[in-house]
């Protein structure tokens, strides 16, 4: 059970292997990938929100920043909460920092459980809470040459 901030490429096969337990009959994994357009006006549950400045703008690259030690502590709390709420055997979440290109895996969540229901629910819980609570920030670099911190009303001067 762990939560990790990493600057290294995420290896989904290796991470999944670590979830294997003989009592588990289900494994649910989620991968968040870098997409080629801005969608900053969607909240954590996919509902439209107001205030997007660059909706639909072409994205060339993303840059993730985190406060690693606080992120890993808050992430560990989320994993512990998932374990209390759902009947799961193992769970892991890993999030990239640094510059990523289109199609790169930015975040990986994996959960194993005796049965699929708990595995699906816990996986959803972990990614939703991670997006809402963990100190990780995303800067989009657009094809137009400008860049913008996602979700932030504070804009860089000049």
């Amino acid at each position: 059970m762990s939560f990790k901030i990493t600057s290294a490429v995420i290896d989904p096969v290796a991470r999944k292997r670590e979830l294997t337990q003989s009592a588990s009959g289900a494994c649910v994994t989620f991968e968040g990938w870098v997409r080629n357009h801005n969608d900053a006006d969607m909240d954590v549950r996919g509902r439209a929100t107001q205030g997007a400045v660059a909706d639909g703008e072409a994205v060339q690259a993303l840059e993730y920043e985190a406060h690693a030690s606080i992120a890993e502590k808050e992430g560990a709390r989320i994993i512990a909460e998932a374990r209390e709420r759902f009947a799961i055997a193992a769970a892991h979440c890993e999030h990239r920092v640094g510059k990523l290109g289109i199609g790169d895996c930015a975040v990986w969540v994996g959960v194993s459980a005796a049965h699929r229901g708990a595995a699906f629910d816990a996986c959803r819980y972990i990614i939703d809470e991670t997006k809402a609570r963990v100190p990780i920030w995303k800067k989009e670099h657009y094809a137009s040459g400008v860049s913008s911190w996602v979700n932030c009303a504070t804009k860089v001067a000049g």
Partner: protein, 80 residues
Amino acid sequence: MIEITARYFAAFRERAGRDTERVTTQARTAAELYDELARRHGFADSLARCKVAVNDELADWNVTLTAGDEVLFFPPVAGG
């Protein structure tokens, strides 16, 4: 008046043009300090959407500040 260290991340760091500064303030809580620094640097995000950590632990905005504290200001998060 107390002296604390403020640290800024992501959009806050770029807006303030620095990642850390010493601040002498009359603010009693993290929320009061955010109001003061948001005015000084032009941070536009509401308190409710931001987070604060004091001495490397996430904290409540109403936490009372003590001289020498390191106060970390986190703009709205956007992982995933």
